[in-house]
C-alpha cells in the first residue's frame, strides 16, 4: 500500500455515495486503510490502490474485483470474528479489523498457489477419485484439504445473537428496488395497496445509481415519490431469500437496529412482484480471473458510486450499450482506453496475461496490448430464483442471449417487471412497472376480498375486488444481443469453485451430459455465488460440448436461500415460556430447589427430600400439584367419552365419587392416567398427568370432533384456573377440618375416592378429592387460582402444631414408589401396553369399545410383552440407578424403571419391567449396575412396597 491512502480516488462524482466529510479508518491485514463513510470495504481498499483481495479456492490464484457487488467471488474477507463477509458490499466502518481469508504466509505470497502449477492434476472429479480410498483415511485427507479452502475462520468466542423475527403481511411485496421496482411500488401504493419494497443494495435505484446525469435525475424523482407514499415500506440491504407456497416469502434484513445484525422477516404477500433486474455475466477466456479483469457494471460502480479509478490503461470488450457507457465513464475520469473490442462487430478477447494482475491482453486480431484493466460487457443473467420457486421455468431466448420468465407458468399472485421481463428505455421500464404495480394492487385487493369472504367471523368486505378491471400490461421490447459465453481459450466459468470450461468439457466427456449432472460432478454453480455469475456460462459450455442448444440443455435449478443467511437469523429468539403456580412466591421464599417439569417450574425439594417424605408418613405434608392437568367436562354424554378414553368402566360413577382411570392409545400403549370425579349430574372434573395436560385435552377433542361429533360434551381446560395442593399424612383430616366449611370430613361421610365441593379458608367453589398418590390419608384441594397462595399459607399456618411441612416432587416420587404407583413415561414407555403396566384389574375387555381395546384383547390372549413388577435388591443398601439393566446370562431381560431408598422401610425399592416369565413373586433376577457389578434382586408380590393393602389411606 506504501502509505498511499487515496491513490485511485477520483475527484467528486455526481452520483457518489461516499461522504468525504466523514472519513473512516480500519485495518487490512494489519495495516491501516482510510476511506469514507459510504465506502464498501473493497471500494476503500481499491481507492487505496489494492487490487488483490483473496486467493481462489482450489488453485489459490490471486483474485480481485469482478462485479464490485455483493456477488463478487473474489471479495470475501474476514471482519473481526465474522467469516466470509462480502467485502464489496459490507460498508467500511471505523475500527473494523479486516483480513484476507486462509492465505499463508500472506495474501501476496501464498504458498498454496503451487496448486495452480499442479492444476492439471486437480481437474474435475479429482477429489472424488483421489481421496476415495482407503475410506478410513478420509478424516485425515479432510483435515488437510480443509486448510486449502478459502473460507474464513469461526471463533468459538463469538457472541451468540438471538435476533428477533418479524412477520409482515403486505398486499404487494416487491423484490428489487431499481427503477422498475420503485415505479411498481408507487403505482401499487397509489392504488391503495400496502407495499413492502425490498432492495438488496444499500439504497434504492438499481442501475440508475451508477448511470448518467439523466439517470440520476430519474432516480431523484422516483426516490421522492417513494418517500411521499406512506403505504410503501422500504427495506434496503435486504433480500428475498425464497418464495414458498401461498406467496410466503423469507426476507433477510442484513442490517437491523443500526448494526450488522441479520433479521428474518416472514412475509405473506397477496401479490409478489419480481423485479430484481439483471446480473452482468463474465466472459470465459484464459486469464479471465486475473485482478484487473472486471465487468462493465463493476467499473461503472467504482467510478460513479465510490469515485474510484479502476485502472490506468484499459481494454474494453463491449457487446451492449452498458459496455459503451463504461467506455465513456472510463474516458471521462481519465483512464486511457487503449482498445475497444466491439463484439457486435466481431471483436473478441483471446486471453489476458499477468501474475498478480492483468499486464497485457491479446485481442481478436492477435495483437497483444499492454494494460492494467480489462473490462467486459458480454450480457446478462436473469436472477430467476423467486420465479423458479413459484413454479416458473424460465425459457432461453437466443436473440437476447438470456433467460426470460415463462409468463404462461407464472401463478396469478406473481408478476414480473424490469430487466428480467425485457429491455427498453428507463421510461419504457418504469411505464411497464407502473402497470404491473397497479395490476398487483388489483389482484391483492381481490385476494383480500376472497380471504374475508372465506372467514365466517369477518365483517363483510367493502367490495369483492372483482369489480375493478384487469390493468393491461404493455409488452417490453427485447433487444438483440450477441451470444457470448466462452471464448476460444480456456478460462474460469465458476470463480468461487475454480471450475474452468475445460473441467466442464471433461465432465461431459465422462458422460455427465446435462447441466445438472455436470454441475454436480464439477461443483460449478455450487459455490458461494450459487450460480449468479456462472449459471448461463455453465449451461453454454455444456451445451457446446454436447452439441445441443442451450434451450435443450436446460438450466440448473435456483433454490433458496438466494443469499447466505446466518443460522442465528433463521433460528431467531427461542421462545420457551415457563409456568409457575400461584404459590411460587412461597416456594421462592422457602428455598425451593427448582425442577423443570415440561412447561412448569416446580419445587423439587425444600431441604432433605427423605425427611419431607418421612414427615408425610408421620405427621402431615403439603405439596403444590398445580401442574396436574384438569379438564372440566360437561354434558349428558360425558360417561360415553370416559368409557371411550379410559380402559376401565365409567357408566355407574355416582355423583360425589372419584375413580382412577388409565388411558391407552389405539396401539394399546399406556397414554395417561389420573382420576376423574363426578361433581354433578352432567358435570365431571378429569385430572391428567402434568405432562399430559395439553395432549389429553387435544386427545379428547379429537375423539369428540372427528369420531363422535354427535356426543354432547363440552371440554374446558382448567389446569391453570385452579391452584392444586395435596395435603397428605395421618394428620390431614385434622388440618382440613380447621379450614373447611360445609363439608363433613368424617370417614363415613367423605370416604376414600370421593369428591366434595365447599369452602376452604374462606374461599368458595373449592374442590376436595380424597385420593392418595402418597398412600396416606390425603385430600387434594383445587382452589380458584387467585386464592392459591392464600389457601396454601393458611394451611401451613393452621397446621404448624400438627407438624406440617411442605414437600417437593422428589419426596412425592419417593412416597409414590413406596406405594408402587407407576408414572406414565417413566415406568412405562412407548411400547408398554396396558397389561405390561400391570393394569389387568382395570382393563375391562367386556366393554363394547374403548380406545386401544383390540390390541389389549390380543395382548391378553397372547400374554405378550414385559411386566411391570415391584423389585427389591437383596442388599437393602444398594439403589440400582434407574435404567440399570436386568440380565440373564448375556441377555437383557428387563430394566429398572424407578428406584429410591425408602425412608419408611430403610431399604432400596424399585419398579422394573421384566419379561413376563420372570414376573412371578419371589423370582430372583440379576441387575447390572452402571459400574458393571451384578447384584441380586427379588420380584415382589405387588407393586406396593409400603402398606400394600392400602389401609393407611382409608382411615
Amino acid at each position: 500500500m506504501s502509505g498511499q491512502t487515496s491513490a485511485m480516488r477520483l475527484p467528486p462524482q455526481p452520483g457518489e455515495v461516499i461522504n468525504r466529510g466523514e472519513p473512516v479508518e480500519f485495518t487490512w491485514n494489519g495495516r491501516p486503510v482510510r476511506g469514507y463513510a459510504g465506502d464498501t470495504i473493497v471500494s476503500a481498499l481499491a481507492a487505496a490502490g489494492e487490487r488483490v483481495f483473496s486467493r481462489s479456492m482450489k488453485y489459490h490464484r490471486p483474485r480481485g474485483l469482478l462485479s464490485a457487488s455483493f456477488h463478487d467471488p473474489g471479495c470475501m474477507v474476514q471482519v473481526g470474528d465474522e467469516p466470509n463477509v462480502r467485502g464489496a458490499h459490507r460498508l467500511a466502518a471505523d475500527g473494523i479489523v479486516v483480513t484476507s481469508q486462509n492465505t499463508w504466509p500472506s495474501l501476496r505470497l501464498d504458498a498454496k498457489a503451487v496448486n495452480g502449477l499442479a492444476g492439471r492434476f486437480l481437474t474435475a472429479g479429482f477429489y472424488y477419485k483421489t481421496f476415495m480410498r482407503p475410506r478410513f483415511a478420509w478424516p485425515a485427507y479432510e483435515s488437510v484439504l480443509r486448510r486449502f479452502v478459502n473460507a474464513g475462520t469461526v471463533s468459538p468466542g463469538t457472541a451468540h445473537l438471538r435476533p428477533e423475527k418479524r412477520h409482515a403481511h403486505p398486499d404487494v411485496l416487491i423484490a428489487g428496488g431499481g427503477p422498475a421496482g420503485m415505479a411498481a411500488a408507487i403505482s401499487a401504493a397509489r392504488a391503495g395497496a400496502s407495499v413492502l419494497l425490498v432492495e438488496e443494495e444499500h439504497a434504492l435505484g438499481g442501475h440508475l445509481r451508477w448511470g448518467s446525469e439523466a439517470d440520476l435525475a430519474v432516480l431523484a424523482e422516483l426516490t421522492g415519490l417513494v418517500a411521499a407514499e406512506p403505504g410503501i415500506e422500504v427495506l434496503t440491504d435486504a433480500v428475498a431469500l425464497g418464495r414458498y407456497d401461498g406467496n410466503a416469502l423469507a426476507i433477510l434484513e442484513r442490517r437491523h437496529g443500526g448494526a450488522e445484525t441479520e433479521r428474518l422477516i416472514r412475509a405473506r404477500a397477496k401479490t409478489l412482484v419480481v423485479a430484481p433486474g439483471l446480473i452482468e455475466r463474465p466472459y470465459v477466456f484464459a486469464g479471465n480471473d486475473l485482478p484487473g479483469v472486471m465487468l462493465s457494471t463493476a467499473v461503472r460502480r467504482l467510478i460513479n458510486l465510490y469515485a474510484v479509478k479502476p485502472g490506468q490503461r484499459a481494454v474494453v470488450l463491449t457487446a451492449n450499450p452498458d459496455g459503451d457507457a463504461a467506455v465513456a465513464d472510463l474516458k471521462r475520469v481519465g483512464v486511457e482506453v487503449v482498445r475497444v473490442e466491439d463484439a457486435r462487430l466481431g471483436g473478441d478477447i483471446v486471453a489476458a496475461t499477468g501474475r498478480a494482475g492483468v499486464r497485457a491482453v491479446q485481442v481478436a486480431d492477435g495483437t497483444s496490448i499492454a494494460c492494467d484493466l480489462l473490462v467486459t460487457a458480454v450480457g446478462w443473467t436473469a436472477p430467476t430464483s423467486l420465479l423458479n420457486a413459484s413454479g416458473d421455468r424460465p425459457v432461453y431466448s437466443p436473440q437476447a442471449a438470456r433467460y426470460f420468465p415463462d409468463a404462461a407458468r407464472l401463478p396469478e399472485n406473481v408478476l414480473v417487471t424490469g430487466g428480467i421481463a425485457g429491455d427498453g428505455s428507463v421510461e419504457e421500464l418504469t411505464g411497464h412497472a407502473a402497470a404491473v404495480g397497479a395490476e398487483a394492487a388489483r389482484r391483492a385487493a381481490r385476494t383480500a376480498a376472497a380471504w374475508i369472504a372465506a372467514t365466517p367471523t369477518a365483517r363483510p368486505a367493502a367490495g369483492t375486488g372483482a369489480e375493478e378491471s384487469v390493468r393491461p400490461i404493455p409488452e417490453l421490447p427485447v433487444d438483440a444481443h450477441p451470444e457470448l459465453f466462452a471464448g476460444r481459450t480456456n478460462g474460469f466459468v465458476d470463480f468461487s469453485e475454480d471450475v474452468s470450461a475445460k473441467d466442464l468439457r471433461a465432465a461431459v466427456a465422462e458422460g455427465f451430459r446435462g447441466a445438472e449432472l455436470a454441475k454436480r460432478f464439477t461443483t460449478a454453480t455450487m459455490g458461494p455465488l450459487q450460480g449468479k455469475l456462472e449459471t448461463v456460462n455453465t449451461v453454454a459450455v455444456v451445451a457446446a460440448a454436447t452439441g445441443a442448444t442451450i434451450a435443450e440443455t436446460g438450466t440448473t435449478t435456483w433454490r433458496p436461500p438466494y443469499v447466505p443467511v446466518t443460522l442465528a437469523a433463521l433460528a431467531g429468539r427461542a421462545f420457551e415460556p415457563v409456568r409457575y403456580s400461584p404459590m411460587q412466591p412461597w416456594h421462592d421464599a422457602h428455598g425451593a430447589v427448582p425442577l423443570v417439569a415440561g412447561a412448569w417450574i416446580r419445587p423439587d425439594r425444600y431441604g432433605d427430600a427423605a425427611a419431607e417424605a418421612a414427615n408425610v408418613r408421620e405427621h402431615v405434608g403439603i405439596i403444590d400439584v398445580t401442574p396436574i392437568g384438569k379438564l372440566d367436562l360437561r354434558g349428558p354424554d360425558v360417561p360415553k367419552l370416559l368409557n371411550l378414553l379410559y380402559v376401565n368402566k365409567w357408566s355407574k360413577l355416582e355423583i360425589g365419587r372419584v375413580r382412577y382411570g388409565v388411558m391407552c392409545a389405539e396401539d394399546g400403549v399406556v397414554l395417561d392416567d389420573g382420576v376423574t370425579g363426578r361433581l354433578g349430574e352432567e358435570h365431571y372434573l378429569m385430572s391428567t398427568t402434568s405432562s399430559g395436560a395439553a395432549t389429553i385435552w387435544e386427545w379428547a377433542e379429537n375423539w369428540l370432533q372427528t369420531e363422535h361429533p354427535d356426543w354432547r360434551v363440552h371440554v374446558t381446560p382448567v389446569t391453570t384456573a385452579y391452584a392444586s395442593m395435596n395435603v397428605a399424612g395421618p394428620q390431614a383430616r385434622r388440618l382440613i377440618e380447621r379450614v373447611t366449611k360445609d363439608v363433613d370430613l368424617s370417614n363415613e361421610a367423605f370416604p376414600y375416592m370421593h369428591v366434595r365441593t365447599g369452602q376452604i379458608a374462606g374461599v368458595d367453589d373449592c374442590v376436595l378429592w380424597r385420593i392418595g398418590f402418597t398412600g396416606e390419608l390425603s385430600y387434594e384441594l383445587h382452589v380458584p387460582a387467585g386464592y392459591g397462595l392464600h389457601v396454601w399459607q393458611t394451611l401451613l399456618d393452621q397446621g404448624a402444631d400438627l407438624g406440617i411441612h411442605a414437600f417437593g416432587v422428589e419426596a412425592q416420587r419417593i412416597l409414590r414408589l413406596e406405594k408402587g404407583h407407576f408414572i406414565v413415561g417413566q415406568d412405562t414407555d412407548g411400547l408398554t401396553r396396558g397389561f405390561s403396566a400391570g393394569l389387568d384389574w382395570a382393563i375391562k375387555l367386556d366393554k363394547d369399545d374403548f380406545v386401544g381395546k383390540p390390541e389389549l384383547a390380543w395382548q391378553a390372549a397372547e400374554g405378550s410383552g414385559p411386566r411391570l413388577v415391584g423389585l427389591q435388591p437383596v442388599d437393602p443398601s444398594v439403589v440400582p440407578e434407574e435404567a440399570s439393566l436386568i440380565m440373564e446370562g448375556g441377555s437383557i431381560v428387563g430394566r429398572i424403571t424407578s428406584s429410591r431408598m425408602s425412608p419408611t422401610l430403610h431399604r432400596s425399592i424399585c419398579l422394573a419391567q421384566v419379561e413376563a416369565r420372570l414376573a412371578g413373586p419371589g423370582t430372583e433376577v440379576t441387575v447390572r449396575l452402571p459400574d458393571g457389578r451384578l447384584i441380586a434382586a427379588t420380584v415382589m408380590p405387588q407393586h406396593a412396597h409400603v402398606d400394600p393393602d392400602g389401609g393407611r389411606m382409608r382411615v
Binding site: 401461498g246 405473506r268 365466517p456 379429537n702 372427528t706 354427535d710
Partner: protein, 118 residues
C-alpha cells in the same frame, strides 16, 4: 408455508395448525382382524395427488378439520369440520357443534377449489 382455509377462521398459515395425518377409517373394534387394525394404525396411502387429511387448528379455533389437499401442488379443494365426513352435504354433526359460527358453515359448504389465495 401453505394457507389452509379453516372453515371457522378463514385462510390461515399452516404453521397455526397441527397436521394430524391422513384420514383413516377406524375399523369396528369388535370384529377387526389384527391385519385390519394394524393397517388402520400404521399404513397410509401417502399418495402423490389428492388426499384427505385431518388438521388441527391448534393456534386458532382448536377445531379438527378435514382437508382435501393435493400433495404435489398443495392445492386445497375443500376444508370442512372433521366429524361430518361420513355424510357429505347433509351437515351431519355440524349442527351438534355448539359454536356460534358453525351455522355459517352448516351443510359443510366447501371452500372453492384452490382456496382464495390463487
Amino acid at each position: 408455508m401453505i394457507l389452509l382455509p379453516c372453515p371457522w377462521c378463514g385462510p390461515r398459515a399452516a404453521t397455526e395448525f397441527a397436521h394430524i395425518g391422513e384420514v383413516s377409517v377406524r375399523p369396528d373394534p369388535g370384529s377387526a382382524t389384527p391385519a385390519q387394525w394394524r393397517g388402520y394404525l400404521y399404513l397410509r396411502a401417502n399418495p402423490c395427488g389428492w388426499t384427505s387429511e385431518t388438521w388441527y387448528h391448534r393456534m386458532g379455533c382448536r377445531r379438527f378439520i378435514k382437508v382435501e389437499r393435493h400433495t404435489e401442488t398443495n392445492e386445497v379443494r375443500s376444508a370442512t369440520a372433521a366429524g361430518v365426513a361420513e355424510v357429505p352435504g347433509t351437515g351431519a354433526g355440524m349442527t351438534e357443534i355448539p359454536d356460534a359460527t358453525a351455522g355459517a358453515r352448516a351443510g359443510g359448504a366447501e371452500i372453492p377449489a384452490g382456496g382464495p389465495a390463487r
